[in-house]
Symmetry: C5
Subunit: 93 residues, 5 copies
């Protein structure tokens, strides 16, 4: 999983039918935990802007919500909100 | 998902049989959401040149079109067209 | 998919049994469509040295040849030869 | 697999139900064995802070613990603790 | 597949049960065929230190040895030894 911070979201009206109902959050990578600076991830745990989150990539993203997403074309999902008192190297003091 | 802009397309006459009928769009990455500058993605939502899109990578690309692509050798698919009024960090003002 | 140019091939006599009969082409990435400069891909469409091709990565590579490769340990496959008159950004004029 | 060193952990109270009970370790890449500097991996072998470990990425992470994790949204898992006397290039002397 | 050279190995006594019996080789990438400098791959073809090999990444690694590894948490496997007379760009003369 990568560690990131939710910085925004994008809206897509014309999209694959299996994506209806999903929120697309823009997540900014923290502490060099991914090779790109940002990623778009669906959010099924209710993360808000500014929160630090764990994002699972690849096929793992389809194993979220107890199997409910198993046939959706998603490749990144927010799977947890990081507790405020967790210390992250190179990011928190 | 990565965020990109459709900048062109390529045509392949000699190709795997399961790819017949697909359009291959060249998508340019926006806002550092992927580690390469461009990618070729199949398009099943009807995105046009210049539009901003969401692209799913890896096995997720085969879960598009309600399962119709599940046996195709594709590793990237345009899964949504981003609404014009969505604001993307480091790209839109 | 990435766009590449076939620049050579490698021969492997001692290899996994499921790879017997495959050709291993060295493909050089074009137009920044992948994060590495080259990749080795199996070729089932008959691409020759110097041709521009589409390469599918990951599990997609096993969905080539109408399912014939579905149990082979391959992670990259040439899935199409790009037509000569296709224009590729940052590569063709 | 990548080689890394366990440098910390993160706690997530609000998370996907299938992740309950997992520990999320922050692993720092050693010897340029991955393209990002750090990654968060679940730990089912009991690795401690400071230990050198092998981390499996992608769908492989769900094949840990004899199949017990096969429906969890995890994309990285510590699969082995590296013995102290193993010599790692560019890291150990 | 990436092209690499076997430069060493690591030993892990405490590891996932499904990894018992595997050898973990450190492979150094050749000719810019991967985005990281090294990777740890299981070896089921009997490659020795100094040999040039083909490595399959991701789920492909579990399709080695005629299906015997299909439930192991491995994400990289040496699938072939490259013949000595194969010429590799940017590496061999």
């Amino acid at each position: 999983m990568l560690i990131g911070k939710v910085v925004g979201s994008v809206v897509s009206t014309d999209k694959d039918a299996k994506l209806i109902g999903h929120k697309f959050m823009i997540v900014e990578t923290i502490a060099d935990t991914w090779c790109a600076k940002r990623i778009v991830a669906v959010d099924d745990v209710g993360a808000g802007i500014g929160e630090k989150v764990l994002v699972s990539l690849g096929s793992a993203a389809r194993f979220t919500c107890d199997g409910e997403n198993d046939a959706s074309p998603i490749d990144a999902a927010i799977v947890g909100i990081i507790d405020n008192d967790s210390v992250i190297p190179d990011f928190d003091k």
